[in-house]
Amino acid sequence: MRKFSNTYIYVYVSALVLLISVVLASVSIGLRPKRDANVTREKYQQILKAAGYKDISKKNVVSFFQEIAEPEMGNEPSEQYRIRCADGNSGIVVRVNGKGLWGPIWGYVVLSEDGTTIKGVSFAHKSETPGLGAKITDDEFSNAFIGKKLYNQNGAFTSVRVIKKGQEGDIREENRVDAISGATITSRGVDEMMRGVKRD
């Protein structure tokens, strides 16, 4: 077998590492605009979905969003928008953030103008289990939120709770949705995240 000196080994590894990092760094920088555009488009798509728009073709998402939505004044960092919903009325878009089982979960909630009723939601996640926690992105789950109330019969803020069947207690139908079976932690994450829904 060929002998390799220590110097050879050091130079070999250093050169290899340098080469690989330069290539990867350039690819990463080169693709960044595309990646950022994907992220923005996805965000707009998510908000449009929460606002009740179905089947917006991918190409039009950004221009359509800018046409019907505008950031609310004075709330630059909080990502609150005023949007014309699919039903013709205007709504307020609020962003929520939370923790799932494996990583962050987040979503956009469209509230009625007075901030008491949910007009639509759409959730997203970084790494929830496909078929279980990842179901929070399904229409079946998000549609359950439509029309739910953030305040209880006494006018106190309760948000919309996400609760397992059979554990509803005395929480009204209008203040809760069913949790996803098999995804206890993710459902609890959505439950906690929804407590942060409030108009600024």
Partner: protein, 197 residues
Amino acid sequence: MKKYLGPLSKDNPILVQTLGVCSALAVTAQLKPAVVMALSVTVVCAFSNLIISLIRNTIPPRIRIIVQLLIVSFWVVLVDLLLQAYFYEISKLLSVFVGLIITNCIIMGRLEAFALSHKPWPSFMDGVMNGVGYGLVLVVVAFFRELLGSGTLWNHQVIPKALYQIGYLNNGLMILPPMALILVGVMIWIRGSRVDR
């Protein structure tokens, strides 16, 4: 061509060598991520094999594992970046599992056992075939898990709604990882029973 077909059955990385089982359990709850994962592993395995084979005579044996890891990581990061730029939805679907391809024993195993001692073209083919062999198992497992666990295939409802109304239920256990292990076990059993020992 025939000499490359071993990984599809006789030397299947999952069923015979029981490598890469971990990711086979993680990404097979639905067909789509399973297929993309299989493609990604195939690409990484084939090109890592190719590169290692090309530079095999320059690699000092004492640090060969480190060099292999570097090359594998390079391809994995590259695949991840490309997925994020051009197949954004799918890259989200796979999330962390793409990064974890680095730790997939199949790839390191093929580099050690094959690419270090073979010419570039056979090494490349070996990588492709091992990726395909791995992918076949993933697709079969994912097919049954998605069909019986969610009643869908490739996110399309295939079990008719009428069936649910007369009391049919999706099998919740199917979407949990233990069921994937049982399915892989059943596949190993079926394969083993058909082979002469």
